[in-house]
């Protein structure tokens, strides 16, 4: 059988890759993709803890489904923001979206 540690390490690695994408990339759409990776990493953890704990308690799975809804909402609004900015300023580079800097 697979020990719990493997899932936790996988999820930590996935989370960190997503974190790197969010912090280092300029492109706003890639930043959103990075956030998706991080949310998935969280979900892997939730499901792993459901499986390795008491499986009759469904909180882990319910939480994971709520995370799906949150991810969907985040993508919907995030991409809408990107499109809105693109239409006004003709760029999707996060660094150039600096109207509120001052």
């Amino acid at each position: 059988m697979i020990p719990l540690s493997w899932y936790l390490i996988l999820s930590a690695a996935l989370f960190c890759i997503g974190l790197f994408g969010v912090l280092a990339r300029k492109n706003a759409i890639i930043i959103l993709l990075g956030v998706e990776l991080m949310l998935n990493a969280v979900n892997v953890n939730l499901v792993a803890f459901w499986r390795y704990g008491d499986i009759s308690l469904m909180a882990g799975q319910v939480f994971a489904i709520i995370v799906f809804a949150v991810a969907a909402a985040e993508v919907a609004v995030g991409l809408a923001l990107v499109i809105s900015v693109y239409r006004r300023r003709n760029t999707i580079i996060a660094n150039e979206i600096d109207l509120l800097k001052w």
Partner: protein, 117 residues
């Protein structure tokens, strides 16, 4: 786990068959490529510009409404499986749930976002 193993086998075999067919066709077919033959087909005239044309924003709206309803149905499947046991309470709960999302559809509709123009 066992039943997912079968699903995995179906995925693998389902890929092997088309890969095999395309691979065989690739081996048996002639290979006489030339630049004119490989040009993009555009009804007989030379292609102009990029294939990355500007798309309508409506595509995004439809995908957006689809996304919201798709996530909603994911909640509704477990609800439907256990509908018999919980009686009227669960039914009303589901009706409230669906109604809230129908409100979103109506909002999009009233904003004129479901028009293709």
């Amino acid at each position: 786990m066992n039943e997912w193993l079968y699903i995995g086998l179906f995925f693998i075999v389902g890929l092997i068959i088309p890969v095999g067919a395309i691979g065989m066709a690739w081996m048996m077919g002639p290979k006489k490529s030339n630049p004119i033959k490989m040009t993009t087909y555009e009804c007989g005239i030379e292609t102009v510009g990029d294939s990355w044309v500007q798309f309508k924003a409506q595509y995004y709206i439809f995908a957006l409404v689809f996304l919201v309803f798709d996530v909603e149905t994911v909640f509704l499947f477990p609800w439907a499986v256990r509908l018999g046991q919980q009686g009227l309470f669960a039914v009303l709960e589901g009706i409230v749930f669906i109604s809230i999302l129908i409100a979103g559809l109506v909002y999009t509709w009233r904003k004129g976002m479901l028009e293709w123009a």
